[in-house]
């Protein structure tokens, strides 16, 4: 079986193929950006939600939890925690507040972050906003 296999052709395919698929990806991104307003719940983003996201980030919550399935797998999914806690921001706040400083012997426990009342309300609102993003019906059930 004889065949021709040249380096220049392989190179052309590498460059051509890359450019082709980068352009395609950009086109799809463009389309996605146009569609997002319908499903990313951006109307619900208030200054409070913005503060909540900042609290979320500055306490590295993603280091234990997942949010919409992404993050660490050490603690429960929080994308739907608002719904799991019976559509209650108060329940979320109460849980965060109640964490013991020195943990629970032998068990995993969330640290006590000593958040202010404003921060607590903000993070709860952020989690409420997250739970209302259209995620194509994910997670499969309320347990996340």
């Amino acid at each position: 079986m004889s065949e021709v296999f040249t380096k220049s052709m392989a190179r052309n395919i590498y460059y051509g193929g890359s450019v082709f698929f980068i352009l395609l990806f950009l086109a799809l991104t463009f389309d996605t950006m146009g569609t997002l307003p319908e499903q990313d719940n951006r109307a619900a983003i208030t200054p409070q939600v913005a503060l909540g996201k900042k609290v979320w980030e500055e306490n590295n919550c993603i280091g234990c939890h997942t949010l919409l399935g992404e993050g660490a797998y050490f603690a429960p999914e929080l994308g739907n925690v608002y719904k799991r806690f019976g559509n209650s921001t108060e329940a979320i706040k109460a849980f965060i507040k109640s964490r013991p400083v020195n943990g629970v012997p032998g068990r995993r426990s969330m640290p006590q972050f000593n958040l202010t009342e404003e921060e607590l309300e903000a993070i709860a609102q952020f989690l409420k906003y997250s739970s209302e993003i259209d995620t194509q019906d994910w997670p499969p059930n309320i347990q996340g």
Binding site: L24, V49, E58, G63, P76
Partner: protein
Amino acid sequence: MKYASQAVSKLYFMAAIGLFVGQILFGLILGLQYVIGDFLFPAIPFNVARMVHTNLLIVWLLFGFMGAAYYLVPEEAERELYSPKLAVALFWIFLVAGALTILGYLLVPYAGLAKMTGNDLLPTMGREFLEQPTITKIGIVVVALGFLYNVGMTILTGRKTVITMVLLTGLTGLAVLFLFSFYNPVNLVLDKYYWWWVVHLWVEGVWELILGSILAFVLIKVTGVDREVIEKWLYVIIAMTLITGIIGTGHHYFWIGTPGYWQWLGSVFSALEPIPFFMMTVFAFNMVNKRRLNHPNKAAVLWAEGTAVMAFLGAGVWGFMHTLAPVNYYTHGTQITAAHGHMAFYGAYVMIVLTIISYAWPIMRGEKAANKRAQVVEMWSFWLMTVSMVFITLFLTGAGVLQTWLQRYTDTPLPFMEVQAKIAPFYWMREVAGLVFMIGLVLYVYSFFAKGESAGDATPV
């Protein structure tokens, strides 16, 4: 060693291995925290340990890539490095910045670190893998630019080969895509969408170019196969990588608030992502079989072949397992993801860095290959680490399957923490496998100091 300036890579390799040890140490802590929940609490909570574990991984791999570039670029370009001084300076800047960041993670509460480093001015912290303070991120950009300048000038003013051009494209892509880590909109969906441009397009895009070119370089050296042959296969393989991998980003856009068509696009293209890895395996073994010389560095050949196989298994097979949207619907964000992540990172990136270190280190010490006993020790460490990683992956997969079943798939789903208690035996076994990995790593470090009779010269087949 053909060019004196190649020696700077020694610094980089040393740092890489040192940080690797640190990474595994924190891996063991994490593994223990999975089963003894209050281990080291509240001194080192899980999130801090995990951040250290993953960030050390990224940083030491970057050290490894840079060291590899400083070693192979002068040899390929047939000239001294453009500026060895810059390379040394950047090394210390990067190391000190990295060490300070890690110390910051460990000594200051994360929120305090955010305040200290002015996260208010440009909030970029607190996102998975991108936890570094904004100022560290800026430092990474500066180091990357200086590094690119140094390597780029060497390549562009010297002999240009396919290997160096692909490497340069990969490194440039790495630096450019990292810029998206500074974009952090409040809109969570947008945040996640572009976050993947760093994470996915790194590990399933440009990093694979770096992997491919390092592997090609080592294969040319240890097999003596014609450069033409290796270079055109390199082109075809990385072309396939980008053709499948770029739209393959879609497998992260299933459930984060993005349009439904990504489920189809992501599933199809990422289902094809194993192809380039498969080609790489076939390619590596073919080249070794067609070798025209018997290189005395048997360990380096073993690492190179191991990379091809484990990258295929970890990135290809384990990735494919949960990449189809209907499967991913149930497995998304479970221990299955962790299993895939461990084997893919080890197989593709850890092993390629160890391959180039294995090849280059003896040469930088003035030998063709390490002595026979050192090589035997090194090969033992290869098998210990690789086999224990296979077991870590299998145990995590077991944990993930059970977790998916109990928490997601049944009619009576159990809460997260109850499920975690039920899968604890898998975590224990994973921890044991992790200990074996650590033993392998200690043996690996020891292999640099082992003494024995010389390994001899390359002989024609």
